[in-house]
Amino acid sequence: MDYTHKDCKHFLAVDVFKGICKRDQDNILADDSSCDRFDLLERCKYCKNYKATQEQLGLCMDTVDAYPDMIAKTCNDFQWRSHQA
């Protein structure tokens, strides 16, 4: 999978287009390809509890509507899928 900066846990979003790399404070574009120091950010789509149902939509714990790109850093129920942990 090709990851972009916005998928990286070191990415600080400034706005919907761009952000700052927390490591070196460089300005970077959200949709540019990630660098080799990439670490995956917690998002619903990487969680064991998430199941996709259609494009950009899915279910959390089989019951609640959810969407794959939701940042899950503050979610107490987030668990990495085994291949992404």
């Binding site: 706005d15 949709d31 950009q56 609640v64 940042i71």
Partner: protein, 895 residues
């Protein structure tokens, strides 16, 4: 654009107002630079786009759904707790004050529980339903600013919403899904179901479609235009308030008036969410500290983490703690509703005990304090309010109106101005940003050196502080709040809520370091709710057309059945239509606000506002100390007076032409092309059409008719009669709290879209052009007798009859240069206020600079102008407002 002037000499040309400025553009006076930290924050802000996310609405809705059947206020509290707990913390380098509204620098989010249709696709069923009901008519006639942080078009993976907010495309399917969950459940939809039961509802829809009224208030901006009260968190800390709630629960559980039990429980739940939000930030700061290579930076982040952890439970220990805590609760309120005009009030007086103590101890310096105040300005400037295009563009111009007041009187009636407020004024110059806008509460007891500091800030072109008459505001409050117990002592605590709404406040006993300090804070809920912006010229248009909106061809009102053969008959017909409008809008808005208080009761703001915690009631249940806050807002009052003067003189007194001939001329736009055709919205720069000569004579007579702003007794008499009748008639209508309404007169930005839908008017104004700004400003180019004649016109009635009046003046920078210029400027302001005026604000700018900025926006990212109660970046204003500001009369002599 604060670059030094080149001190050019004036040439010897003169116009009505005195010497003409040199042909070269005169720039504003220079100010000191901000700290390098502030400068970096400002540079970052300038390249940041308004961004929306759906984190908060997602978690709110998810929890709301899960708790179906729960007590409504508890369900709301749990939803808010969940939403606050899940906001992703964002820590921007160099910030001294932590935390943001959402997970972007200029982050905001939709609140579909209020209204969900306006951000849906225009072709979709939900938007079309809203259009049919006249709810989004203002959207269609509003122009948004095309530059700055506005995301005006969708591009790549970013979608543009309301012409301003960017939303990641991957979040849109969930937003649509969430919006559909709220369909028929939101405040907007539930209110709509019941407002249709109001007799005359059909007229209401036509009023909205014709944009005679700008927007409903109950689901658009249900809170705001009010003053924050930071007392409880400062005095007790969050744990202390939770303890108060626990006591409240023990005292009320099982006893009559059980709503108090649910209220206390709801406040507890909401506060738990805020505690998690703060602690999530603290953890983020600790994590960010691990990235740091420099020890000082790391220490700063760890200090911030420690401060946040402390404040998540305890009251502040220092000035910096107090600043941080007030900011947290400010944005917490902003996250509970769509809000504009949430004013920090007299924050410099609230924070003064902490600042003075730290200064006396030598813990902080003025320089460091200034940097913090600059940082605070950047944080306030980053606030965005997510709303429809008609609201965020047509009313707010992208502004959020966080008005900070300085000056005024203390509890005992002495000047309340202090050294920290002087620093706040200085920060307003060194860090010239739109927020918080500043207002100086002028009183005869205000020290001269403090006033001079205020005028030094105004004259460099920031547009703030606005100058407000303290005594006029107190008189207004004593008149309107005496039945709720307002005293002279309490009236002294007042401040401006929003851009210019006089708001009731109270003195609260802050215990800090073994001393009691009486700090001022808001003690009334939202003002400027009720009847929002009635277009007076548009109503006059329907009088002449016997109830028809000539733009759409739709009938708005039944025929008034007056034979329009005298000025008095026109005036009577106008009053009839105006009354009908106020009546139906009051009733429908009362229903919307009732839906609001039932579905989405205020929790954060209710917890803050005295005496909700004491009474155990939220602000929707009149928990606040003062509750008479609903008003009737109007727009275009001066155009109305000018138009009536022209009708009276030309048609009925001098009989220069008949009413029929006038109507034909108005329908033909006096032989000019419309503003929509020319793309220019001010009276200047309009283009003639081929039948121009047919209407030349009538147009000239209309233009030559007496105009407000020249100390002319005829037109001023009409204006005075309108003002006094308006003030009196408002009290015939009552809010859902059974309190009489009162008048409010600010245009904000509504004079643009409301002008855009209005035909030519009998004062000579052309179709589609913008109305007069403010409430007592003169129509551009028609005030020909200098500023003091304008002041006489403006004060022809008692300003304390109304919640506000608003005068905008444009002053050429050359007039106020240097120390002498400042003194002359201050004397002019004092002279106006001493005549009984409520408010004046100034654009100190050369119009040629504005024209250049319109042509070359990229070169003017930091240029700010004063619009009507607020300062905004030029590039973020719509063209309608830009044209209007350029066209304003530019005074080149004030002596």
């Amino acid at each position: 654009m604060n670059t030094p002037t080149n001190g050019k000499e004036h040439d010897s040309q003169y116009n009505h107002f005195g010497k003409l400025a040199s042909e070269q553009t005169t720039v504003r006076e220079a100010t000191d630079a901000p700290s390098s930290r502030t400068l970096r924050a400002k540079e970052r802000y300038f390249v940041t786009k308004s961004s929306a996310s759906i984190e908060y609405p997602y978690w709110y809705t998810r929890t709301w759904e899960a708790l179906e059947g729960e007590i409504p206020i508890i369900r709301r509290a749990e939803a808010m707790k969940s939403a606050f707990s899940h906001i992703t913390p964002v820590v921007y380098p160099g910030e001294l004050i932590a935390m943001s509204k959402a997970n972007y620098l200029r982050g905001s989010f939709p609140m579909p529980w209020l209204s969900e249709a306006y951000f849906m696709a225009a072709e979709g069923e939900m938007y079309q339903e809203a259009l049919q009901a006249g709810k989004v008519s203002a959207d269609t006639v509003t122009t948004m600013g095309q530059g700055g942080g506005n995301v005006t078009k969708s591009m790549g993976k970013v979608l543009s919403i309301a012409g301003k907010f960017g939303l990641r495309s991957e979040e849109m399917p969930m937003l649509v899904k969430i919006a559909k969950k709220w369909h028929n459940k939101s405040v907007d939809d539930v209110g709509h179901k019941y407002e249709q039961m109001v007799p005359g509802y059909d007229t209401k829809e036509e009023i909205m479609r014709s944009v005679i009224c700008m927007f409903d208030s109950g689901y658009t901006l249900p809170q705001g235009r009010e003053v924050m009260n930071y007392y409880y968190p400062l005095q007790y800390g969050i744990d202390g308030i939770i303890d108060m709630c626990k006591e409240g629960i023990e005292e009320t559980a099982g006893y009559p008036d059980m709503d108090r039990l649910y209220f206390y429980k709801a406040i507890m739940l909401m506060l738990e969410g805020i505690q998690t939000w703060i602690r999530n930030y603290a953890e983020e700061y600790k994590e960010i500290a691990t990235y740091c290579t420099e020890e000082q930076e790391k220490e700063e982040y760890l200090d911030l983490a420690e401060r946040l952890l402390w404040l998540s439970s305890k009251p502040p220990r220092s000035f910096f703690d107090a600043v941080q805590l007030t900011w947290i609760f400010h944005i917490a309120v902003l996250n509970e509703d769509a809000i504009s005009g949430l004013s920090p009030g007299r924050l410099g007086q609230v924070l003064y005990p902490y600042w003075k103590s730290d200064m006396d101890k030598g813990i902080i310096s003025r320089e460091l304090s200034l940097e913090w105040l600059e940082n605070m300005r950047m944080k306030f400037t980053q606030i965005d309010c997510f709303a429809s295009m008609g609201v965020v563009g047509g009313v707010l111009s992208g502004n959020t109106f966080n008005n900070l007041c300085v000056g005024g009187l203390d509890k005992e009636g002495n000047s309340a101005a202090n050294e920290l407020e002087a620093l706040i004024l200085k920060a307003g110059m060194t860090c010239d940003t739109p927020q918080p806008t500043l207002s100086l509460l002028f009183d005869e007891k205000s020290p001269e050196d403090f006033l001079l500091k205020g005028v030094e800030c105004t004259k460099v072109g920031t547009g703030y502080p606005a100058w407000i008459n303290n005594q006029v505001a107190m008189e207004f409050l004593m008149t309107n709040y005496v039945e709720e117990g307002m005293t002279i002592e309490e009236a002294r605590a007042w401040a401006i809520g929003g851009c210019l709404e006089t708001s009731a406040c109270s003195w609260m006993p802050l215990e800090y370091e073994d001393m009691t300090h009486y700090i001022p804070g808001g003690s009334a809920p939202a003002t400027s709710v009720g009847v929002h912006f009635i277009s007076l010229p548009k109503i006059l248009e329907t009088v002449l057309s016997r109830g028809i909106d000539k733009r759409t061809g739709q009938r708005v009102y039944e025929d008034h059945h007056f034979i329009l053969d005298s000025y008095e008959s026109v005036w009577k017909a106008f009053k009839k239509y105006f009354r009908e409008t106020v009546k139906v809008l009051t009733l429908t808005n009362n229903i919307q606000h009732d839906a609001w208080r039932k579905i989405t009761p205020s929790l954060v703001n209710s917890m803050l506002k005295p005496d909700c915690l004491t009474k155990g009631k939220d602000i929707g249940q009149q928990g606040s100390r003062y509750n008479r806050t609903f008003n009737v807002e109007i727009c275009g009052g001066v155009n109305l007076a000018n138009a009536l003067a022209s009708l009276k003189k030309n048609v009925f007194e001098d009989k220069n032409f008949s009413l029929k001939e006038l109507r034909e001329a108005l329908d033909a736009n006096f032989g000019y092309k419309t503003a929509q055709e020319t793309g220019s919205y001010s009276l200047i720069d309009q283009q003639k059409s081929e039948n121009f000569l047919t209407y030349l004579k009538i147009h000239k007579l209309c233009m030559d008719a007496p105009k407000y702003g020249n100390d002319d007794p005829m037109v001023d008499g009409i204006f005075k009669e309108w003002q006094e009748w308006f003030a009196d008639m408002c009290s015939d209508y009552t809010s859902l709290y059974d309190k009489a309404l009162y008048p409010c007169q600010i245009s904000v930005s509504t004079h643009a879209p409301m002008g855009a839908v209005t035909l030519a008017t009998p004062d000579g104004r052309l179709a589609g052009t913008t109305f007069v700004d403010g409430s007592v400003s003169a129509y551009p180019g028609t005030d020909n007798n200098g500023p003091y004649a304008l002041f006489n016109s403006a004060t022809c009635y008692n300003h304390a009859l109304s919640q506000n009046s608003q005068l905008n003046m444009k002053i050429h920078p050359s007039v106020v240069q240097g120390r002498e210029g400042a003194k002359k400027f201050l004397e002019m302001i004092k002279a106006y206020l001493r005549q009984g005026a409520f408010h004046a604000q100034f654009n100190v700018v050369d119009s040629r600079m504005l024209k250049d900025a319109q042509e070359n926006p990229d070169e003017y990212r930091g240029l700010m102008v004063r619009v009507a109660g607020f300062t905004q970046y030029w590039v973020e204003l719509g063209k309608q407002i830009q044209d209007e500001v350029i066209a304003r009369t530019e005074y080149q002599e004030i002596g």
